[in-house]
């Protein structure tokens, strides 16, 4: 079993949903970013998504755009992102790490070389926003061959006809995007999300994580009641934007993670099973 599969199996055994935390690699600089990553599991993150910074994050809202630009300004690159993962892995062999971002930096790095280096660094899965199933030959199939999960986004526009194609080469978990929109937009409606999660679970045995628009412990609790995991990103990187110092950034992000984790852990599970 992969780290991601082990983690979701354990969550299932514990009878609770998970918390997936997104932060951008190198935001605002490599060392602060590493301190945040190292603090995340202890604060209650069950899975870590690390954003690979890109100049043109077309599916992201203002918070993650700004986060990406801060990281680039701080000198972050894809090679250094993998270094961060490697350093995180020295102290944590269990928490799954998913790299999330856009295709061009990977294509520029070289697909095969990237997959080898990512696997060696301790990456468990990839979410590449601008690689739909139509372009699976590009990176998805090679990633699976390299032993990495390729986690796909399903969205409100992914209809019944299309859902099987989206699920076909997906493994690890499915990321359901709760709204047709960009990251950090309006909060999702938990009832609608519940119906969508049920729709996906009818055709897939994979865990379903739900993200976009979750900002508070209360919202995380509502989503955790109807999904296998809640994903939070914009709200976390927003804390980095507002922090007065490096120490404050680490502290404020982890404070929010603790609030979110408490919300997720207090959820009463209903529709998810």
């Amino acid at each position: 079993m992969s780290r991601i599969e082990q983690r979701f199996a354990r969550l299932k055994a514990e009878g609770r949903a998970g918390l997936v935390c997104f932060v951008t690699a190198g935001d605002p600089d490599a060392e602060t970013s590493l301190a945040i990553l190292r603090g995340l599991p202890g604060a209650g993150a069950d899975v870590i998504e690390i954003g690979m910074p890109f100049t043109d994050p077309m599916a992201d809202g203002p918070a993650i755009q700004a986060s990406s630009l801060r990281a680039l300004k701080g000198g972050m690159t894809l090679r250094r992102t993998l270094d961060l993962v490697r350093r995180f892995r020295e102290g944590d062999r269990e928490t799954p790490i998913v790299l999330m971002g856009y295709y061009n930096p990977i294509y520029s790095y070289g697909n095969e070389r990237f997959l080898t280096d990512a696997r060696a660094a301790g990456v468990d899965g990839l979410i590449i926003v601008d690689l739909p199933p139509e372009e699976d030959e590009e990176l998805c199939l090679p990633a699976i061959r390299a032993g990495l999960h390729f986690i796909r986004l399903a969205t409100p526009t992914t209809d019944e006809k299309r859902l099987p194609a989206v699920l076909a080469n997906t493994s690890g978990f499915i990321y359901y995007v709760s709204i047709a929109g960009i990251t950090g937009a309006a909060a999702p409606d938990a009832r609608q999300v519940a119906a969508q999660v049920r729709r996906i679970k009818r055709v897939s045995a994979l865990p379903v994580a739900v993200g976009f628009g979750i900002r508070t412990g209360e919202q995380a609790r509502e989503i955790a009641a109807v999904a296998d995991a809640a994903v939070v990103g914009s709200a976390l990187v927003g804390r980095i934007a507002g922090a007065a110092s490096s120490d404050a950034a680490v502290r404020e992000v982890l404070d929010l993670v603790r609030e979110l984790a408490a919300g997720v852990r207090s959820a009463r599970r209903s529709a998810a099973e």
Partner: protein, 405 residues
């Protein structure tokens, strides 16, 4: 790298939207069903004679097509070589070739029952053309425009507002065309039910590169007919400027399989290719993936997109349409680059010799004509696409020449 020559240069894209390795559909899942729907709607419209007839009617009576093919006699005499013709697409309604594509896309939007139009714009020409057709068909229109571009293209911003469009300043990233395109894509992802995105150049996810090319190919088709009537034969060469590349592909496409027609496309070399301040993606970039397609991009070693620079806001884009990327690799079209300074000289020469103020975009094409025409024989017939008029650029040109208005 050896690339096999295809039997035809006009057969692309394939079923997945690829021109060789370029093109494709690199978009977020939320948009994927929408571009598949657009592809179906476009394929159906192409086969529908009523759609084509309606488009032709608007092109004739609203846009003002066919645009003239004009023999630039004094310029030809001045350069002393090739016989130079201008394809006068600057005489179209709204002053550029952009409206050819906007008219096609808005008829498609109506056919698909879409109620809201969005667009990105750099110089503002595509924004004006989109605002124009949206006004003509009574649809609300939102145009995304980089804050930097808004500052340097004030007349076009006001024109769009007069036409009833909402112009949204984009303050993210470099605040120019690529960022406006990011923001338009973000709008589209957020308004999937009722919105039609009119992309302004032959780039973006499939089917846009093919669709925009098809709507712009009216330029090349007319040129063929007009040249046959005028000279009784095809031209020897074609020249067009290239940002994303829609006016160029529109002129070139009907000639791609004519082996005796030499084709030049002119990128913006800005302050010079060595300066790092240019927009020459083919001459100085390398393949990558941005805005839904694989193509040549200006990017750093980490795959981060670089800011483009050109005196012409319409060429100020770090990418290029995927069909051009392919035509470059297979060697059918020769891509060259012209600096800001060369374009400015061409702008002034054309004004004085022909009484035509070219837009700064085709002034780049003209600068290349000035380089090659003198060395060509007098019976060499050359067609340059005068794809836009220069009224919008007078402030920029005045500033570059150190003149206070």
């Amino acid at each position: 790298m050896t690339i096999q020559k295809p039997n035809s240069f006009r057969s692309g894209p394939d079923a997945h939207g690829h021109f060789g390795i370029y093109g494709g559909r690199y978009v977020a899942e939320t948009l994927m069903p929408l571009i598949l729907e657009l592809e179906q709607a476009y394929e159906a419209a192409k086969r529908d004679q009523a759609f084509q007839a309606e488009l032709d009617d608007y092109l004739a009576h609203y846009v003002g097509r066919p645009s003239p093919l004009y023999f630039a006699e004094r310029l030809s005499a001045h350069l002393g070589g090739a016989k130079i013709y201008f394809k006068r697409d600057e005489l179209n309604h709204t002053g550029a070739h952009k409206i050819n594509n906007c008219m096609g896309q808005i008829l498609l939007a109506r056919r698909m029952g879409k109620k809201r139009i969005i667009a990105e714009t750099g110089a503002g020409q595509h924004g004006v053309a989109t605002a124009t057709v949206a006004a003509r068909f009574g649809l609300p229109c939102i145009v995304y425009m980089g804050a930097t571009d808004i500052e340097r293209q004030k007349p076009n911003v006001f024109r769009m507002k007069l036409l009833g469009a909402e112009v949204v300043p984009v303050t993210s990233g470099s605040q120019t065309l690529k960022d406006a395109m990011n923001e338009a894509l973000r709008d589209w992802v957020s308004n999937v039910d009722d919105t039609f995105y009119i992309i302004g150049t032959a780039a973006g996810p499939h089917p846009y590169p093919a669709l925009v090319r098809d709507f712009q190919s009216v330029i090349g088709r007319e040129t063929r007919e007009q040249m046959m009537r005028r000279e009784g034969r095809l031209p020897d060469s074609l020249v067009a400027c290239i940002g994303g590349g829609s006016n160029a592909i529109g002129l070139f496409h009907p000639f791609l399989d004519e082996p005796d027609v030499k084709i030049w496309a002119v990128e913006a070399a800005g302050l010079g290719l060595d300066s790092g301040r240019h927009a020459a993606s083919l001459t100085a970039g390398r393949p990558g993936v941005l805005h839904g397609n694989r193509t040549y991009l200006l990017q750093d070693d980490d795959g981060q997109i670089l800011e483009a620079h050109s005196i012409s806001a319409g060429l100020d884009y770090p990418g290029i349409g995927p069909e051009h990327a392919w035509l470059h690799d297979v060697g059918r079209v020769e891509y060259v680059a012209i600096t800001d300074r060369e374009a400015l000289e061409a702008f002034q020469l054309c004004a004085r010799l022909e009484g035509i103020l070219p837009a700064l975009e085709p002034a780049h094409a003209l600068a290349h004509v000035m380089k090659v025409a003198p060395k060509l024989p007098k019976d060499h017939i050359m067609v340059m696409n005068m794809c836009g008029r220069g009224d919008k650029d007078v402030f920029t040109v005045a500033e570059a020449l150190g003149v206070k208005l």
